[in-house]
Amino acid sequence: MKKEPFLKMSRREKISWQKRLMIRIAALLLSLLVCAGVIFLLVRMNPFDVYKAIWDGALGSERRIWITIRDTMILLCIAIGLAPAFKMRFWNIGAEGQILVGGACAAAAMIYAGDKMPPVLLLVVMFVCSALGGMVWGMIPAVFKAYWNTNETLFTLMLNYVAMQIVTFCIVFWENPKGSNTVGIINQSTQAGWLPELFGQKYGWNVLIVLVFTVVMFIYLKYSKHGYEISVVGESENTARYAGIRVRKVIIRTMAISGAICGIAGFVIVSGASHTISTATADGRGFTAIIVAWLSKFNTFIMLAVSFGIVFMQQGAVQIATQYGLNENASDVILGIILFFLIGAEFFINYKVERAKK
């Protein structure tokens, strides 16, 4: 005779935030344990030294702290852009492309209008152009989804690579020096179109822009009529029609916003960090941000924490790599392991597992 089911799973009706946090922390600790094991196997190093190296790498000096902050802000900005789309259950896998298009627009403005405008106006133009670029890139799949229900996951995914080729196309015209196949630092001498220092900090503007988005998006999703419409459409299109919501309009509008913010993330990268454009401008952050947005369940402040955690680990892993002569790709392996544990933990947040009673 067959055995009866051994474990019983049931959906939790409610979970306190403390318990939620506990599960997440447990998952994080578990993942660090596994990572330590992996690292030990590879380099036979004391894991505690390794973790100290991670800490040093992320927060060991003022410069490192600022790099960690800079990268946290960029990741956060992308995740904020994705939040409204995901709340609408629109799988925008296309952040990567939206960032590239936004970044390319910002770079174009920098290159072509760098010496024709006052610096402040130039920055405004760049900001607007990158937002528009990302917006267009986000709206294309949205229009097809709204009118013909074209699968948005696959559509946005494909657009990433079209965007990548557009950037390489542009690089041919913008390359500097000629033949290098890279754009190099744009406006190195004039620094036109570079985000200036704020409060004496190089990345001050990046932080300010993204934090403003964090607050505004939080309010937009939770307290605005648009945000309400997004949640209704995400829950059920039938309900939305019943409520008198124009579903197509909401889908297109939301993706316009989502794409625009991802485009602005491209602006922040180009104008506020790298001062150049390449196919590596997005550097997979469009994908990582999807995981950030999903783990944070549309709460932009939790996104801040999650983004910081991920960038912290990445910076730390880069440090380990250099310190122990490992390949720098070790950071992706470690990040991958941590992500597996964090997303796996969602199950224990949503479900109770009990021994089956007899």
Partner: protein
């Protein structure tokens, strides 16, 4: 042991969260018999059957097949035991053919010889006189053809115990009669059949014995020959509940809505409403009767602007006699026009409410866009939620817990409460008391009557003819998208309405 039972259930209990779906249920099924399981919506019939079929696993209790205790953990186990089930929602894969669906999941040679398999199934089809094309894709089939595929599927799997969950809900009377003939054939062939239903006439016409469930509890099993409509319905609803629904006389009814020649088509281009003419008056309750899927849903949705009309007019007359045609408008335009139209849809969570939102947020579903600015004003909705919770005695921990966690009756109160709070001129409700306990049902009837007294034109779709006859002033009967007749609620009989429900021609006021 004495009796020769094909299936025995002993003390079966199943809980979903805090809801007790089956409470120590006992049941026996003899060999070669048709057993009807009778019970109202929500009495736990389907849950019980799903446990026999391995979809759910019982929390407590024993299942015996042919006198031996068994553990049924999956439908596969139940197949091995010769148990087959035809669900209310067909379990068929749309893009596969009938034959492919029938052999799905069966053991056998790895390589499929569809020709040979089809021939085998065809033999079975011919034996019982089914009418299907085995090479047709499911998505090209009618509802009754799909049901046939389901039954053939179970027979082909060698089912000796066949469970049918409300098989006639989607069938025309002729199709139902054909089904009954086939079921009798199968019984005479040695099969044991369980049919789940809440239609008393069918129980009496078809079954050998009847088992009655009520609110998850087993009540009794009786010989059909010794039962009648009265005794069965008493057992089904329990201690005789006087329906005792109020029906005040309409006060100065005025024409509020006049539908003329309304025709709608679904996505596949099939007519769902066919040249419908109907008048709805203020201060009265108009009931809509019909077999499920006769166009009830489409009619209400067309009026609400959620269903595009292919042709016809829906003339709305306001208190001053001004007329507006709603047929060419969608719900947003109707709202902008100031026509206050309340609609309680059949699908409560999934259309009428957002399950993950709390009461407050659900209160503003249809009014959130009122007020200036881009931000939501939650003060009004919060107040409304509190008021409705108190007035309608809604059981929920707080107005900020998700409505998904409430029971069916409370969900419906939230929905009806919100719609009525709009002070509508027209109130449409679909299946307002389906799956709802008797007390909540009465609260809802009372609310509908209050609206009627306020001069609202009330339209309600209700399955239960007794309720329709007790509540409504007039009753329109739909059949195949046509109005086959409109009768007076005070003088009409169940038989009369039953006849109209199967009359496929256009009829007028009687």
């Amino acid at each position: 042991m004495g009796e020769n039972y094909a299936l025995e259930l002993k003390q079966i209990t199943k809980r979903f969260g805090s809801v007790l779906a089956n409470d120590h249920v006992d049941l026996t099924l003899k060999k070669s018999e048709i057993l009807a399981i009778l019970g109202e919506n929500g009495s736990g019939k389907t849950t019980l059957m799903n446990m026999i079929y391995g979809i759910y696993y019982p929390d407590e209790g024993h299942i015996l097949v042919d006198g031996k205790e068994v553990s049924i953990r999956s439908p596969k186990d139940s197949h091995h035991l010769g148990i087959g089930m035809v669900h209310q929602h067909f379990k068929l894969v749309d893009v596969l053919t009938a034959a492919e669906n029938i052999i799905l999941g069966l053991p056998g040679k790895t390589m499929l010889n569809m020709k040979k398999v089809t021939a085998e199934i065809q033999a079975l089809v011919n034996k019982y006189g089914f009418d299907i094309d085995l090479s047709q894709k499911i998505y090209e089939m009618s509802v009754s053809q799909k049901q046939t595929v389901e039954i053939v599927k179970m027979l082909y799997r060698g089912a000796r115990i066949l469970i049918l969950d409300e098989p006639t809900a989607v069938l025309t009377p002729q199709e139902a009669d054909r089904l009954f003939d086939i079921l009798r054939n199968m019984r005479d062939d040695g099969c044991s059949i369980i049919i789940i239903t809440h239609k008393l006439q069918e129980v009496l016409a078809l079954s050998d014995r009847v088992a009655i469930l009520r609110k998850g509890r087993y009540i009794d099993t009786v010989e059909t020959a010794k039962a009648n409509v009265q005794s069965l319905s008493e057992m089904m609803v329990g201690a005789k509940v006087d329906l005792d629904i109020d029906r005040p006389e309409p006060v100065s009814p005025q024409k509020r809505l006049e539908i003329k020649g309304l025709t709608c088509r679904d996505k596949e281009g099939i007519k769902t409403l066919d040249d419908v003419d109907l008048v709805v008056n203020s201060g009265e309750i108009l009931g809509i009767a019909g077999i499920s899927g006769s166009g009830q849903k489409e009619l209400l949705e067309a009026v609400a602007g959620l269903q595009a009309a292919e042709s016809g007019t829906i003339l709305f007359t306001d208190a001053d006699g001004n007329q507006k045609d709603l047929a060419k408008m969608d719900s947003v335009e109707i709202q902008e026009l100031g026509v206050s139209l309340a609609f309680v849809p059949e699908d409560r969570i999934g259309m009428g409410l957002v399950g993950d939102m709390d009461m407050t947020d659900n209160m503003m579903l249809r009014s959130y866009h009122n007020g200036k600015g881009g931000l939501l004003d939650r003060r009004g909705p919060r107040q409304l939620a509190t008021t409705i919770k108190d007035q309608l005695e809604i059981m929920t921990p707080s107005i900020s817990s998700p409505v998904r966690q409430m029971s069916g009756g409370n969900v419906q109160k939230v929905l009806v409460g919100r719609e009525i709070a709009q002070n509508p001129k027209i109130l449409m409700v679909a299946y307002p008391t389906r799956g709802i306990d008797i007390n909540s049902s009465h609260t809802i009837y009372k609310l509908l009557n209050e609206q009627k007294k306020h001069g609202v034109a009330v339209i309600c779709v209700i399955e239960d003819l007794d309720v329709l006859l007790a509540l409504c002033d007039r009753i329109a009967v739909l059949c195949g998208g046509k109005i086959s007749g409109v009768v007076n609620g005070r003088s009409a009989t169940k038989e009369g309405i039953g006849l109209l429900m199967t009359k496929h021609e256009k009829g007028g006021e009687q």
